[in-house]
Subunit: 231 residues, 2 copies
């Protein structure tokens, strides 16, 4: 894994986002965007889905969660095996413990590094600040595949498609998500949520109403993705 | 890879489908379904997308291909790397050569097996019959990721999501697709289409108007996919 490059990426994201992070879940509700409204047009959804990293505390109705997961289990699946499991977490204690585990892991890395230009207290404050957005949602969904499925060697295709469908369905109902791998490490969800070895994690995503829908990051030109007849 | 089980699966599919295979592309156009109509409602699309294995020869307008691929490049992508490449094949000669390579590989397996209850000619006829549906579409799209992308270790998540989004977008315009891995092996697309080592294949899918929209195979109950708070 390209830990170095990914760590840089996350640090950049933290810098970009730090100006907006108020260290509180209560503040952002005032200036709500109207663009969170539900919209079932698939072309709008493709265009308007975003990776959301800061959420309003508003609860997500159970019916919406179920509707989103009902869509998440509709992708193509090898031999119709349907190897998915969606673990829904709303318990604030579990969410806090995941956050705390992420903080502690990051601090351990700080201890093992020589760099002491920043004090540990300052470093911890910046880490907590960065993670507060990721942990501000009312609901978390761990997208899993079952290693005991009929064709487990094909789960690596089925799994990400379910996550993608989940995120589109969430956007259709006005909710934000973000495909998290490194920011909440596999080991953290496994340990805090006691996920049995039988399951492999695809990702974890928060689910909630965004504080705002971020602009899209710059995208490559469409033509660069398409080749006709040969590469 | 569970070759044995997957081979069984494909044989079962072949048996199920064989009654409908007429060995001709011209026949099916008569009794066209009206459910192929475009529909942009995402909930309908989740519900009505199917794996399609038999196509009408009708051409797919270039604008539709581009619109589908424009949607296929919108999934979440690690660090905004966008590692995708979509190779569009319409050349009938290339499509025929892929089919022929699939036939020859299957016949090689026949030769290496002891089972001679079926004559080789009979076996070849059944193989050609089974593959004719897969190769009846006017367009094929090979979904690839670029190993030289910024975070190649994350491509295994980004790639399948693009394939899933592609298939939803195709369904929205009334086209069928099917996520093919084993039925058209990686080595066949690599050799016939001269795909450089730089690219890893996610899948290949035909793209075209279905002869019919198949019924959904039986699905597990929704409740089986969802766990609240613990597994």
């Amino acid at each position: 894994m390209n830990i170095e490059r990914r760590t840089f990426l996350k640090s950049s994201a933290a810098l970009l986002g730090s100006g907006m992070v108020l260290g509180s879940l209560a503040a952002p509700t005032a200036a709500a965007e109207t663009s969170t409204a539900a919209d079932a047009n698939i072309w709008d959804i493709f265009r308007n889905r975003r990776s959301v990293r800061k959420f309003r505390p508003d609860a997500v109705p159970e019916a919406d969660i179920v509707r989103i997961l009902d869509a998440a289990r509709t992708p193509p699946t090898s031999g119709n095996q349907q190897p998915w499991k969606f673990l829904v977490i709303r318990d604030r204690d579990k969410i806090s413990r995941m956050k705390e585990a992420c903080v502690q892991r990051t601090l351990e890395r700080f201890d093992s590094r020589g760099d002491k230009a920043t004090s540990k207290a300052q470093y911890e404050a910046s880490v907590r600040n960065r993670l507060s957005g990721y942990f501000s949602a009312p609901v978390y969904i761990v997208v899993l595949t079952d290693n005991t499925s009929q064709y487990p060697d094909y789960n690596h295709w089925d799994g990400p498609m379910a996550a993608g469908f989940l995120m589109l369905a969430a956007r259709a109902l006005g909710y934000g998500t973000v495909f998290i791998t490194d920011a909440i490490p596999d080991r953290v969800t496994k340990e805090v949520l006691r996920i049995p070895d039988r399951y492999a994690r695809v990702c974890i995503t928060p689910l909630g109403v965004p504080v705002e829908w971020p602009d899209s990051p710059p995208k490559r030109k469409l033509e660069e993705f398409i080749a006709y007849e040969s590469l």
